[in-house]
Symmetry: C2
Subunit: 323 residues, 2 copies
Amino acid sequence: MCPKRVVIRRSEISSGDRPVMLAVCGDSASGKTTLTRGLVQALGEERLASMCVDDYHRYDREERRALPFTPLNPACNYLGIMEQHLQLLALGEPVLKPVYSHRHGTLERPVLFQPRECLVVEGLFPLYTPRSRACFDLRVFLDPPEAVRRAWKVRRDTRDRGYTEEQVLADLDKREPEAAAFIRPQRRWADIVVRFDHIEVRHEPESSPLSATVMLRPTAPHPDLTRVLNDDTRETIHLKLTRDGDGKPVDALHIHAYASRETTRRVEEAIWEELGIGDDLPACLGLIEPGLRSEPLAVVQLLLLYHLLLERRGDESLADVGT
Amino acid sequence: MCPKRVVIRRSEISSGDRPVMLAVCGDSASGKTTLTRGLVQALGEERLASMCVDDYHRYDREERRALPFTPLNPACNYLGIMEQHLQLLALGEPVLKPVYSHRHGTLERPVLFQPRECLVVEGLFPLYTPRSRACFDLRVFLDPPEAVRRAWKVRRDTRDRGYTEEQVLADLDKREPEAAAFIRPQRRWADIVVRFDHIEVRHEPESSPLSATVMLRPTAPHPDLTRVLNDDTRETIHLKLTRDGDGKPVDALHIHAYASRETTRRVEEAIWEELGIGDDLPACLGLIEPGLRSEPLAVVQLLLLYHLLLERRGDESLADVGT
């Protein structure tokens, strides 16, 4: 006898206008924007809106000079207002979102922000408070090793934000105590923890593309990858039952950077098929910048799309399940 | 037999942290800020917060030049966000309030705004939508004759906002169709309509102080003025049962500018005593600017204080009523 499958459909608990909400949390330069950009491109801005909750800074750069904390301190942010806005967005309501200019270090006039069918919320603090966490259908934490993140931050801030390498490194050191105290502890609240890293055992050179380890915690309905992954794919992508740093059971999905495009493509299509969407697999996944692709990034983005679309599909095709 | 008095106490329907909310609605330069200032001074900023919902402008002055409407058009304002923020404030929640600089005509960084025990919300549109109106315990509309308002606006905008008289008059003409279409119709939603004006029958010179006519609609629990007003006071202040412009019954309270300080003071103290607060009557009421007092303004402010404190008193001293 097969137990009756019980599915709580979104349409039973919402007006249908409520967005599916995904949190992408992580320290500065941990890859949040790159990850999010591919999701927006895959679904289109009409279907997926994204916002950065670092806009909820309480002080501008000038004011912070006189203050004893960095933006990584909760006291430096309007976290109560962030919670309030996330709750409103989760109900499908628009908000007047504050705007922080990273380029000028100033707080600007706010903008009207409307949720779409899906909403990705990235930033330093989306998983910090219980009321904030409760707004999300799926919670992701980006957890690159510090060496990788420091290299990314130096590259971005010297190229895009007008800093020297020495300034960026000094800033990283200044922020470290608050990153340890306030940002990294949010890892424990994630359904998915993503770590892009070199695989040390292979002694890869620093410049080689990064592999990914994706911790799939049993707190979210991940796709059944045992049907997708087999002996043919295990050289490039495999799932391993293990324990997380906190001793709790978790599925660790390893996606190797040297995976062939063909093998990962096969895995991606199998995950996509699980969704039963019918459309072709989005071609824009895995793009780091124009001309530079990462297959591990593509697989991570696909997993997140799977969750976004699974939640959304609950509105429609699951309407006859469990009756 | 006396019917049992039923009082719904605020403490039964709220956490006790919800502010008493007063709307002061009216066109530009209709006296909103002067009226509100006396209330803030009387109760103190710790007890009474005030905000202006004209900060919810959607466009800055530069952007409006290319648009076919003035700030008096609902389309020129984030009225949905205004509603949302009023609802949150009515529940005792803080909001991140937008800021419009009248001096520079620009939209600035928003500020954290916390409600206090009482909250006065002044502006062009606080009574425009049903959801907004529903947030208030008392609704006031300022309704000076156009000649009076135009003189006030010329005086303020040439003195404080850097315009010439010609510019102000041209602006008034440009705004008139939208004032008629969107601002003045809000008068119908007020519990109290205040008109400061010269009393024509007395042929007063233009420079003489203004009298006030206060329409007390039976939609709010006004103080029982029949016990306060008598033959001794009728030369300076009297109540008249009449019909409003829409034909509906209303009490019209007339307060004459030539009332002696002693007579109005007696009336003010009687109203104050009705409240049973115990403290002395606030001395700062009626102040138009340093050195210039208006007894009619003082009486109007006192009436509003009466309502604010009556609502608040419901938390405490009515706790044993109706049991």
